[in-house]
């Protein structure tokens, strides 16, 4: 009975995925309602919150890119919040404040290392704007990013809006090439049906705009997030999106609001990042299941399906891979699946080259490695995520930084 149930759920996940992707293409090309009506005359005051930990000069580049935004300078500010970096990130923030005088840059510093989510909350304390945009400090932003995000809030029930995250280093390695494909497909296709119902399940923390009042309402929940007493610092973007939806607001991804992030270039870094994300997915699934009746009554069915089946599919993927490895271990290595993957890669590669030349991939065959990665991802990351729910490790940091972070997390020591 149990295997039948597992397969049924997987089949459902697969069907929903196929329907979603097909629907996405139909919506994208033929349904105007799938895209929000943007009002560029709507220009609320904006605070760009930039939590930072050990990013070095990158924070300077990030603030520089924001300073070039096509948005009235007097209507936006940058609040950079250093989370007790052990490198010179703070100095770079101060330098940015000195150099980019065309905009208001505020620089703050946590007294203790608190993690990204709490750093955002700390930065929020200094904001008085109508709109808050939380960004990652290692991203580069398109000049129109703020304008594009703000324009979407002309819809009164719009709670959170995300931008499209591109890859800064698509050709650094096979690993980054794979991620470029995934990022592009996720934003340009997978999120389109969710956009249609204004119910995007997870807006990327790289570029996350939210009404300040709403964020203030959610802030206590962010601060008090814990897993059996252990503070949760990860997955604040998924959590914020989820909370936005539960409060009856819409969520949306505006693919015209662009930013570019540096994705992990090595397998260990990617593994750690994906592990952190998988923990968030699992945690979010448990939260969803725990409060399922509330979800069913409050949210759009598409949203409930997204919130339940996407993480459930990731969990059951583990069972699929186990079944496959114990049944027919070489099934995935046959020419047929490889051809399918390479065909998908060829199409995606062409689309990316045509519509986002900056992310053009030199070697589309790299996508073939996704096959192996998906095995690793399904088999190890889900298992490890389930067994390390108590971890506070951010993952993608150097040894020195991790040591400092661990120490800070353990003792909440002063900077």
């Amino acid at each position: 009975m149990a295997p039948v149930l597992v397969w049924l759920i997987l089949l459902l996940c697969l069907l929903i995925s196929i329907v979603k992707y097909t629907l996405a293409l139909i919506l994208k090309w033929s349904v105007p309602g799938a895209v929000v009506k943007k009002d560029y005359t709507y220009q609320p005051t904006v605070s760009v919150l930039m939590p930072c930990f050990n990013e070095g000069k990158t924070v300077y580049e990030t603030i520089e890119s924001i300073s070039k935004s096509n948005y009235p300078n007097e209507r936006f500010e940058v609040i950079a919040q250093d989370d007790c970096s052990v490198d010179d990130s703070y100095e770079w923030m101060l330098k940015a404040r000195r150099d980019f005088t065309n905009i208001q840059v505020r620089v703050g510093r946590n007294t203790v290392n608190s993690g990204k989510a709490r750093s955002v909350c700390n930065a929020l304390q200094h904001s008085t704007a109508e709109l808050v945009i939380s960004i990652d400090s290692d991203c580069i932003f398109h000049p129109d990013a703020i304008r594009e995000l703000a324009a979407c809030f002309s819809e009164p029930k719009m709670g959170s809006v995300g931008g499209r995250v591109g890859v800064r280093n698509p050709n650094e390695s096979t690993i980054t090439a794979i991620q470029t494909f995934i990022y592009y497909a996720a934003f340009q296709i997978y999120k389109v049906p969710e956009n249609w119902t204004r119910s995007v399940g997870c807006i990327s923390g790289c570029l996350f705009a939210i009404r300040r009042e709403l964020l203030l309402e959610i802030e206590p929940k962010i601060r008090s997030r814990h897993w059996f007493g252990i503070p949760v610092n990860q997955g604040e973007d998924r959590f914020l999106t989820h909370q936005t939806l539960l409060r009856g607001y819409g969520t949306y991804v505006n693919n015209d609001a662009l930013c570019w992030t540096t994705v992990p270039a090595t397998l260990p870094d990617l593994f750690k990042q994906q592990l952190r994300w998988r923990r968030s997915i699992v945690r979010d699934l448990f939260y969803t299941l725990r409060t399922l009746p509330q979800h069913v009554w409050t949210l759009h069915p598409n949203t409930v399906l997204t919130l339940v089946l996407t993480p459930l599919g990731a969990l059951l993927g583990l069972l699929v891979v186990l079944t496959m490895l114990s049944g027919n271990p070489l099934e995935w290595a046959g020419p047929a699946p490889l051809m399918v993957y390479l065909s998908v890669a060829a199409v995606l590669s062409w689309v990316i080259r045509k519509y986002s030349a900056r992310e053009a991939i030199n070697n589309p065959l790299a996508f073939g490695a996704y096959l192996a990665w998906s095995l690793v991802s399904s088999l190890f990351i889900t298992t490890l995520a389930l067994c390390t729910m108590d971890s506070k490790d951010w993952g993608t940091r150097t040894k020195e930084q991790e040591a400092t972070d661990d120490d800070a997390s353990r003792q909440e020591s002063a900077c």
Partner: protein, 360 residues
């Protein structure tokens, strides 16, 4: 600008004393469970990788196969075997019948051949006789005709004699009795003449028969031709039958050969074997480790703590296809028969030939 440390949320501050303890207990249990799980997973992954690597490199494994008389291949084999045996029996019976027919036809042919010279001799003999008696009869026929001619002239006077008798009777010269006697003598003479004419005609016919080719001779020749034709037909029939017998003999030989080969098949042993027979599939890659008498090992977890469980009894020549017990790919190989001291080893996923795979 330095942001002060954030105060603990009110909910957290008000949490009871029990809750932290509860959380701590849950987290401890979870961590123990997680560590055990992760070690199990790690162990599983390493073991899986080792098994994969082991079977990718090992060339001495064989996969025991239990052939059931009711599985598809055995049933198919049995069906073909029964059909072949039935065909063989039918061919044998048919061959015997044909051979009987040939014997019968040969005897008949011999009898006809024996008749043919006798007939020929009789014809010659008759021809010779006719040649001898024909002229004599012709002479006699001529003489007879001359005799009859004379008699005819004599008979012409009978009317006159009858008239004279009537006159003498009327005159009372003779009595009625004398007259009747004389008339009877005259009738007898006429009758003799008539007989003589008949004899003449018969004689003429006889002469004709003996001096010319008549229908009777033609009948005899026809009979002779029939005899020759019948012999020829028999020759053809015998030839066809002999060819058929030859072909059936060849077919029987082939079938017997096929059956002999089939009896060497593992499926025959499986179907016809009185006692349990144990087989194993050996991929071609592992062929080098197989020979009759090679030791068979069965191992714990299919690779360690191996023990000797038997020997290779027989190697079958036919190619077999099987699924790799670990990689699940289609592989080609052949079957061997094992002499097992531990029959339960026939149920193992794999056995090893010639040596222990990991030397223990």
């Amino acid at each position: 600008m330095t942001t002060p440390a954030v105060k603990k949320a009110p909910a957290e501050a008000k949490s009871s004393v029990i809750q932290p303890l509860l959380y701590k207990s849950v987290v401890t249990v979870y961590r123990v469970f997680a560590i055990v799980t992760l070690y199990v997973v790690l162990g599983g992954v390493l073991a899986y990788g080792f098994v994969m690597g082991f079977y990718a490199l090992n060339t001495s494994w064989a996969a025991p196969v239990i052939l059931s008389p009711v599985d598809d291949k055995s049933l198919d084999f049995t069906e073909k075997l029964v059909t072949s045996k039935q065909t063989l029996e039918e061919l044998s019976v048919d061959k015997k019948r044909l051979e009987g027919s040939i014997d019968e036809m040969n005897r008949h042919r011999a009898a006809l051949l024996a008749l043919e010279p006798e007939l020929h001799a009789a014809i010659i003999r008759e021809k010779k006789h006719n040649q001898a008696t024909g002229p004599q009869l012709l002479e006699l026929d001529k003489q007879k005709q001359a005799d009859n001619l004379k008699t005819q002239r004599v008979m012409a006077q009978v009317k006159e004699v009858e008239t004279a008798i009537d006159k003498d009777l009327a005159a009372g010269l003779i009595t009625k009795g004398d007259a009747a006697t004389q008339r009877a003598a005259l009738n007898q003479a006429e009758s003799s003449y008539t007989d003589s004419k008949i004899s003449e005609i018969l004689l003429t016919d006889n002469v004709l028969e003996k001096t010319t080719v008549d229908t009777k001779s033609l009948n005899v020749l026809d009979k002779q031709a029939e005899l020759i034709s019948e012999i020829a037909q028999l020759d053809i029939a015998i030839g066809v039958a002999q060819k058929q017998v030859h072909e059936e003999t060849q077919q029987i030989d082939r079938l017997k050969q096929a059956l002999t080969t089939a009896k060497l098949s593992p499926y025959y042993l499986s179907v016809a074997g009185d006692s349990a027979v144990y087989f194993a599939f050996v991929p071609y890659d592992n062929q080098g480790h197989v020979s009759t008498g090679t030791t068979v090992y069965d191992c714990f977890l299919n690779m360690v703590a191996c023990k000797k469980v038997g020997t290779v009894k027989q190697i079958f020549a036919g190619e077999e296809h099987a699924t790799h017990p670990i990689f699940k790919t289609d592989i080609r190989g052949f079957l061997i028969q094992m002499q097992l001291d531990h029959p339960e080893s026939a149920k193992s996923k794999t056995v090893f030939l010639n040596r222990k795979p990991l030397f223990f």
